[in-house]
């Protein structure tokens, strides 16, 4: 038994403990083959998402497209953006939030006030709305440091009510009368419905790249580690305070940016809409329906939340009931979200491919890599 352990292992000089080059030829070769395959998977993913965005970008040129569709599509994008924020906190870091409507409101009001009093450009509005929400998110993350599970949900719900009360009662936010925004301008240009659609799409493109990079990085791994076991994460050197607060900040930033777009699409913000918790609930539902841990989850969920009431307008309140029914069905039959359900066959097929490579690698070592190893792996 013991002579088998660490086959190919080289004895290390005493001193600083480093695992170092302990791998044998076939292992290294297998590793390289797997890396190639995984890179090709990543490329496929990127092409898929790229095609999605490309389709969205050329869609306005299609003959049957009408103006109202641009606004409707922008609304979908806004929900996707907000759901991306929620999924970072709830799906990745495991902190259930029922208060992201509060961050949406902060973004929306920041943009509205800046536009009303300083006539700022939408580009500036987007960044400052995101930053304002991010800062509040950072503070909230610190305040809620010890909350978890249902307590976190209640805490964030309290935050949404708190924001609602503020916008209802503090004079500058003009309560239920609301604030009228001047017509949105991006880099000085007046935005029409399609202009606004492209601004939203571009914003979503940027945030999607950002979220993708984040989730693949050690930071994303630290988030997921905290979600699955705080103890194990901390014993691995993950600073709980830092990463929780960071997750809150990033999450709030994204939803805040969505709030800026939401204020500009209607040109009006008031306590009537932002003082309510319906946004918060909708975002959470979007995240759960789409799948909270997948990158594409918010896309499915955002579209779902916006399009279901749209198609069921005649049914009035029945749309709410249907939403509830679908939510229950999703939780029952696809607890990891609709997106996961769609992606599962693809993932299983890829896993099979990986497995095949691993098995092949064990059978036949090619000469080239053996030569590579004999040169000392350089």
């Amino acid at each position: 038994m013991s002579e088998n352990v660490g086959r190919g292992a080289q004895r290390h000089p005493p001193g600083p403990s480093q695992v170092g080059p302990i791998v044998s030829a076939d292992l290294l070769r297998k590793r390289a083959a797997i890396a190639v395959l995984q890179a090709s998977f990543r490329k496929q993913n990127m092409i898929l998402v790229g095609l999605l965005f490309l389709t969205a970008a050329v869609a306005p040129a299609l003959p049957f497209v009408e103006d109202w569709m641009a606004t409707q599509a922008s609304l979908v994008i806004i929900y996707i953006l907000a759901a991306q924020g929620v999924s970072i906190l709830t799906g990745q870091t495991g902190l259930v939030t029922v208060g992201h409507g509060g961050f949406l409101a902060i973004g929306a009001y920041t943009s509205a006030l800046l536009a009303k009093y300083f006539a700022v450009d939408l580009s500036v509005g987007l960044v400052s709305g995101g930053i304002a929400a991010g800062l509040i998110g950072c503070v909230l993350g610190l305040v809620f440091l010890r909350l978890a599970g249902a307590f976190m949900a209640i805490g964030t719900l309290g935050f949404a009510f708190f924001v609602g009360t503020i916008v209802n009662n503090v004079p500058i936010f003009e309560g239920r009368d609301g604030i009228q925004l001047p017509h949105s301008r991006m880099f000085g240009m007046r935005l029409g419905d399609f202009g606004f659609y492209y601004v939203s799409l571009a914003t979503l493109g940027l945030t999607t790249i950002f979220v993708y990079t984040l989730l693949r990085s050690p930071v994303g791994r630290a988030f997921r580690a905290l979600r699955d076991s705080e103890k194990a994460a901390e014993s691995s050197g993950v600073n709980r305070l830092f990463y929780r607060t960071l997750a809150f900040t990033i999450s709030a930033f994204l939803t805040g940016a969505a709030g800026v777009l939401n204020a500009n699409i209607t040109g009006y913000v008031s306590a009537e809409t932002y003082g309510d918790i319906w946004y918060s609930v909708d975002f959470l539902v979007a995240t759960v329906v789409g799948g909270s841990s997948a990158l594409m989850g918010p896309f499915v969920g955002g579209a779902f939340i916006v399009m279901v009431p749209f198609y069921l307008e005649q049914l009035a309140d029945f749309a709410f009931i249907l939403k509830g029914v679908v939510l229950i069905l999703v939780l029952q039959f696809a607890p990891a979200g609709v997106c996961d359900l769609i992606a599962r066959p693809l993932r299983e097929q890829r896993q099979k491919q990986l497995r095949r490579i691993q098995d092949d690698a064990e059978k036949s070592p090619p000469a080239t890599l053996a030569a590579f190893i004999s040169r000392g792996g350089q």
């Binding site: 038994m1 013991s2 352990v5 660490g6 292992a9 004895r11 290390h12 005493p14 001193g15 600083p16 403990s17 480093q18 695992v19 170092g20 080059p21 302990i22 791998v23 292992l27 297998k30 590793r31 797997i34 950002f210 990079t213 984040l214 693949r216 990085s217 050690p218 930071v219 791994r221 630290a222 997921r224 580690a225 979600r227 699955d228 076991s229 103890k231 194990a232 994460a233 901390e234 014993s235 691995s236 050197g237 993950v238 600073n239 709980r240 830092f242 990463y243 960071l246 990033i250 896993q351 990986l354 691993q358």
Partner: protein, 253 residues
């Protein structure tokens, strides 16, 4: 050189004294065992050493430096890493991801990582090959893409060991590494622990109930009972010590 040591460690949970005036000292490059009957305070002492538990009095030292005020996540940066008694893994995530989290301290600046700046690309690659190295060392290379909850128990124990190893520690604290394992898994883990120590030069301190493991693997053993130091010495000395035999088997009538 003394790696990790503690003096006068006392921990009380309400009226119960879990540890009282405990002391031990771990020298570089050896395998230490910490044993004692159930409820002797072994795990509490372990938690004190890894800073998951504050002590009411006493101090913990690492390389002569007092680490009483360190927080758990800072221990890895000092070079101390640990495993848990009941497996504590990121069970939904793959083996590779579990090991990569273990290598977290080598990841570099988080803000550079979020944006995948050029400055961290090399680090990220190094991290990945480090994780593969560790996986292959513990013969997990064929299970890298499998969520750890789907792995057999013995493999999960190995993943936890791999996660602890991935941070390039100088000292590794193993809380019951073979608890619940079958005899073949115990044999494997014994070899792995020896290898970690002999080949990688990592100091090991382990809590264990499996006496064959403790007696065969450890160079030096501390025995505690009712929260106090009972005995210490080499495995041969410990197995002859009448105090230890009494503690485990009870007094002769």
């Amino acid at each position: 050189m003394t790696h990790i040591s503690c003096r006068g460690v006392t921990v009380k949970f309400g009226g119960i004294v879990a540890c009282s005036e405990l002391a031990l000292s771990v020298e570089e490059g050896k395998i230490y065992g910490l044993i004692g009957p159930n409820g002797a305070g072994k795990t509490t002492l372990f938690n004190v050493l890894s800073r998951f538990q504050n002590c009411d009095s006493g101090s913990v030292y690492y390389r002569g430096q007092c680490i009483d005020r360190k927080r758990p996540h800072e221990m890895v940066r000092l070079g101390i890493s640990r495993t848990f008694q009941n497996i504590n893994l990121f069970s939904e995530q793959s083996t590779l991801d579990n090991i990569l989290v273990g290598a977290h301290r080598l990841a570099g600046n988080p803000f550079a990582n979020i944006f995948a700046l050029p400055s961290v690309r090399k680090t990220q690659r190094a991290l990945l090959s480090r994780a593969h190295d560790v996986a292959e060392l513990l013969r997990l290379e064929n299970h890298l893409d499998i969520p750890v909850r789907n792995l057999p128990y013995g493999h999960q124990k190995r993943v936890e060991l791999a996660r602890a190893l991935a941070s390039e520690p100088e000292v590794i604290l193993l809380d019951e590494p073979v608890a619940g394992c079958n005899s073949q898994e115990v044999a494997e883990l014994k070899d792995f622990v020896r290898m970690i120590n002999r080949e990688l030069g990592i100091t090991v301190l382990l809590v264990e109930h499996d006496m064959s493991m403790v007696m065969e693997v450890c160079d030096y053993i501390y025995v505690i009972n009712f929260g106090s130091n009972l005995a210490e010495g080499t495995p041969a000395e410990i197995s002859r010590d009448p105090k230890v035999i009494t503690a485990y088997l009870g007094e002769e009538e």
